[in-house]
């Protein structure tokens, strides 16, 4: 099975448990390639959140920490303080990062803690059946907004822009998308390097798809992702 997938993937846990066509797996593939390219498999630890992101616990041949919901970032901040030689990645979903875990994330960015936070944004709470999340755009139908998201619940939440306002100037904040995997991989490499070389905070939001809860096929999913990219601009936020 060589050359099929990143070397850092744990082949014993494959086929993985993500749904067919899940954007998480595409994002994790690029993360795997980034880890392969930097040759940091032996010195990385990934903290994982509750939600679909918890399926990462045996995805890589890398140590993982299962944390409480939304507390991935502070746990990895503490881990990094205890073991400064290790590389700490926090892998969460949009609910864990922007809803329940926002204050932890904001303060980690504010203090410029040297961790890399990776947020996969698929615009809903996917594991529990596709409920409304802060990042859902106005007018999008979910199971808890059957007539489309009302503006009184706020428009789509722009996390990287928010963090950019308070984060240290050394920090690296960007948004990638699974529709452009090569760019995404390069952003991930930059983010991890910002942690190791600059000893600073780095944050990446990855726009992703959820065919199961969006009730779309492959083509419609990527069409909707294109619409998302218009609202959430891709690239480094400066």
């Amino acid at each position: 099975m060589d050359n099929f997938s990143p070397k850092s993937w744990n082949q014993k846990s494959k086929p993985h448990f993500f749904c067919p066509g899940c954007g998480h797996a595409i994002a994790l593939k690029q993360l795997g390639y980034a880890i392969d390219d930097l040759a940091i498999q032996q010195k990385t630890t990934i903290g994982i959140d509750i939600g679909c992101s918890l399926l990462v616990w045996d995805f890589f041949n890398i140590d993982t920490v299962q944390t409480h919901h939304g507390r991935t970032t502070p746990v990895m901040v503490g881990y990094k303080i205890a073991k400064p030689q290790r590389i700490a990645l926090a892998y969460t979903g949009d609910g864990g990062a922007y809803a329940i875990g926002l204050q932890s994330l904001v303060h980690a960015a504010f203090r410029n803690n040297p961790v890399t936070v990776i947020v996969v944004n698929n615009e809903n709470y996917a594991m529990t059946g596709g409920q409304l999340s802060p990042t859902t755009e106005t007018g999008i139908k979910t199971t808890t907004s059957p007539s489309g998201k009302d503006l009184k619940f706020g428009p789509g939440f722009k996390g990287p822009e928010l963090l950019h306002q308070i984060a240290n100037e050394k920090s690296f904040i960007a948004r990638g998308s699974i529709s452009n995997p090569v760019q995404l991989k390069n952003l991930l490499i930059k983010a991890i390097k910002n942690q190791t070389d600059n000893n600073s905070f780095s944050f990446i939001e990855i726009l992703s798809i959820c065919p199961t809860n969006w009730k779309t096929d492959a083509e419609q999913s990527f069409e909707r992702l294109k619409e998302m990219e218009k609202y959430y601009p891709i690239g480094e936020i400066k």
Binding site: F4, S5, P15, F17, G21, L55
Partner: protein, 272 residues
């Protein structure tokens, strides 16, 4: 219904329609005046993991919805046997999909095969498997056919977008209802997923596709810039078709491999 109580366990994979079958049967039985309990059981994953339904239909009151011994076990996927084996006792009647489950894999005294996947995909589409199974089970449980069909229409009304789809589903339902369940040898499981890497080649290129990993999401097909990929006849992990490569169009650009969420496809140039 002939017996006083029927304890039914339905097992399959997420996405096959196990919970839909259970919902239709329980709704119909409840409308007919039976006492019904239905407990779905599935994992955190929404698709591709074992999906089990515990269904009790009784003429009297049901004291407790769980049971240890099933009267009827319905197995729609070979991987699901592991999950229901402990509920199967010598008295249990087992109905299995003989086009995906091999006869020898089912350990029971009374077992009947119905080539559901084959019949459904030949007559309409693989998705209509659940309608076919409802037809077969409604006859077995002595539920009135017309009432059952009405329940199917009300439960699946969103899926029946046109009258034609509805009519063809009715045909599938009747096909399942009229299927004679006979004791016999159903060793030929024709719709089994492939195993091991499939290597194909041509025009100086070589493609390796892993059916053990492919979940038929179709991302490689829509992302191919040259339209070289399409669904073929071979089946992958979830008993759904896996892609085939047209080597005349393919340029071995590696886009499919870059996108594939499961790491199931790789196309490379043969360097001489």
């Amino acid at each position: 219904m002939k017996s006083k109580t029927a304890k039914i366990i339905l097992a399959g994979e997420g996405g096959q329609g196990v919970q839909t079958i259970a919902k239709i049967l329980s709704t119909t039985a409840a409308d007919e005046g039976f006492e019904v309990s239905y407990i779905p059981s599935f994992g955190v994953e929404q698709r591709g993991s074992p999906s089990i339904a515990f269904l009790t239909i009784s003429q009297g009151a049901i004291c407790y919805p769980r049971f240890d011994k099933a009267d009827l076990a319905v197995i729609l996927q070979e991987r699901a046997i592991f999950n229901v084996a402990r509920y199967i006792v010598p008295e249990t009647t087992v109905i299995f999909d003989s086009s995906t489950v091999s006869f020898d894999a089912v350990r029971a005294k009374r077992k009947f095969g119905i080539p559901a996947t084959k019949l459904a995909s030949e007559n309409l589409a693989l998705k209509s498997l659940n309608v076919l199974m409802v037809g077969a089970l409604s006859r077995l449980l002595d539920l009135p056919a017309e009432k059952t069909w009405q329940t199917i229409v009300s439960v699946l009304s969103k899926k029946f977008k046109t009258e034609e789809i509805k009519e063809r589903n009715h045909q599938i339902f009747l096909l399942g209802k009229d299927f004679e369940l006979k004791e016999g040898n159903f060793t030929e499981a024709t719709f089994v997923p492939q195993h091991g890497p499939i290597k194909t080649g041509g025009e100086g290129k070589e493609a390796i596709i892993a059916p053990d990993h492919c979940k038929s999401c179709g991302i490689c097909i829509i992302k191919c810039p040259f339209g070289a990929l399409s669904f073929g006849k071979k089946l992958g992990l979830l008993s759904s078709p896996i892609p085939e490569v047209d080597f005349k169009k393919c340029t071995a650009c590696d886009t499919c491999s870059r996108f594939c969420p499961d790491g199931a496809i790789k196309i490379k140039k043969i360097i001489k």
